[in-house]
Each structure stands twice: as C-alpha cells, then as structure tokens.
Amino acid sequence: MLTIGEKQFTSRLLLGTGKFTDFDVQQQAIAASETEILTFAVRRMNIFEPTQPNLLEKIDVSKYTLLPNTAGAKTAEEAVRIAQLAKASGLCDMIKVEVIGCDRSLLPDPIETLKATEKLLELGFIVLPYTSDDVVLARHLQELGAHAIMPGASPIGSGQGVINPLNLQFIMEQSTVPVIVDAGIGTPADAAYAMQLGADGVLLNTAVSGAQNPIQMARAMKYAIEAGRMGYEAGAIPKKEYGIASSPQKGMSPIG
C-alpha cells in the first residue's frame, strides 16, 4: 500500500493527463493503468467555447484522487495561488508543487519549491513537491513536513529514464515519507528500475500519452511498476565482479 497523508492507495502508479490526443484513448489508458491518482494542471477556462469537452466530465471523479499541479508557476507565490485555486474547486486537497526554474531543461527551482512547500503546508495542503534529485534538498522538504518527495528521474518529458540512480537511492534511503519518482520515465524498464531502487511510486505522463499505443503502454507501466516493487521487496542478490556458477561444480560425468 502507498500511503500519502491519510490516504491509502493500492496502485503505485500516478498518471498525468497531459498531451493525450484523443479522449477515448485517454480514458482507456487511464483504465488500463489501474491508477488511482490523476494529475491535472490549472488553466484559464475558455469562456468563449464553454462546450469544449473536459476530461473531468468524461471520468468518474469519485473513483480517483485528483492531484493538481502548479505547473506554469515560476515563483512560490504563483504556485501557492494555483494551489489555492485548485483547492477552491472542492475536489482535492493534494497539490503537486511544480516551480520550474529553467525553461530549457524544465528543472525545478529548488528555492521557490522549498518556499512554496512551506507555505502550502501552513495552509493545510497535502503537499507533494516535484524536486530535482538533490539529496539534501529532499531532506529539507521532508523536514518541513512534505507528505511525499517527488524527485525527477531526468528532465520532464525527456524519456531519458533514471540518469542518477545513486542520488535517487540516497533520497529513498533517508526518506521517512514516500518517494515518488516523477518525470523523465520513458519505458516500462525505466519505471521498473525506479521501483527496484526502492521508490514508493512513479508518476509519469508523456511515456504513456506520447506512446504509439498509449493504452498498451499504460498496461505495460502498471506491470512494470508492480514487478519493480515486487523485486525490491523480494531483495535482489548483491552484484559480484565475476561469474558464480548456478550449477554444481562437482559430480560431472566424464566422457568414456
């Protein structure tokens, strides 16, 4: 079970809802992933096209925990406002803090992320900050009271997978709250690897929405995350430099 704040989840996959080209495919991908947590962004309503369909009208909102993000914010102040807007919907009390500090790499601004996390915790939110893989920053976020730490595997949408497993592992080892690897996952192998390292969950979006077959990829991610978690819990063998035979070395039957 994955526990965030006071909520418990069976699935360890958190699915982003961005960049799907088709609502039907998106709904089927969400179902195939068996996720229980969906992320959203907060944006201006198009008041001149009120009939424009919205995903929230297509899914049974009561079946999912909504995790709005503060994407678009570049300062803590902007992130806090977006979080407050999201909460005023009455649909959610969880927030993914996302404060981007570099337009090219889309890496988060550590200082503004820390400030936003502190303020949102004061305001009573369940706060899940998206952060870089900085070990000390992750510890500071935890000490503030963040309900989960969400270090990136690699830049958002890059599909580069886990590029710093050592840092991620350090973060997982020290953390007393769930660590959810967020951003950069490209393949099921990446997701399984993150889980095998000891992640409590994986948040991904483009890996599914951008796949040639998003429904199939959603299913693959579900299994990968389950497999990685099971492998972690099962306890893998330590790595050795040279080969160690798995068959008996003695008792060979010689020729003639």
Partner: protein, 66 residues
C-alpha cells in the same frame, strides 16, 4: 454592465447580479470551474456573492497536465 473576465472586457445584462448568475450567463454552470473575483479566490459555496460594474474575474478549470 461591463466586466473583465479572463482578460476580456465583456458586457453582461443588468439581471446578472451574482457570481452564480455570471457563471450561468457564460454557460459554465455544468463545468468544473473556480472563480477569482478581484483577486479573491471564491470557494464553491461563495458564488452567491454580488458583482459590481468593472469587477475583474479569473475563471479557471482543470486541464490535462502531468
């Protein structure tokens, strides 16, 4: 009465006196929306608030995002 909504100046009929009436006028009553009036975020149960000429509104919703 003229209002500013999401950066656009729009004219609404005189009978639009509350935030809820504005939401109806914009045909958004069945949508998941959050309203900010003159910089104040309104909770879902605060939509009966009165509106005044030249009030400024931000109306936002949830869209796909990661």
């Amino acid at each position: 009465m003229q209002l500013r909504v999401n950066g656009h100046f729009i004219d609404v009929p005189e009978e639009v006196q509350t935030v809820a009436a504005l939401v109806d006028f914009l045909a958004l009553q069945s949508k998941v929306i959050i309203v900010e009036q003159n910089g104040v975020i309104l909770q879902a149960d605060e939509h009966e608030r009165a509106i005044q000429p030249s009030d400024s509104f931000e109306i936002v919703t949830f869209v796909g995002g990661g």
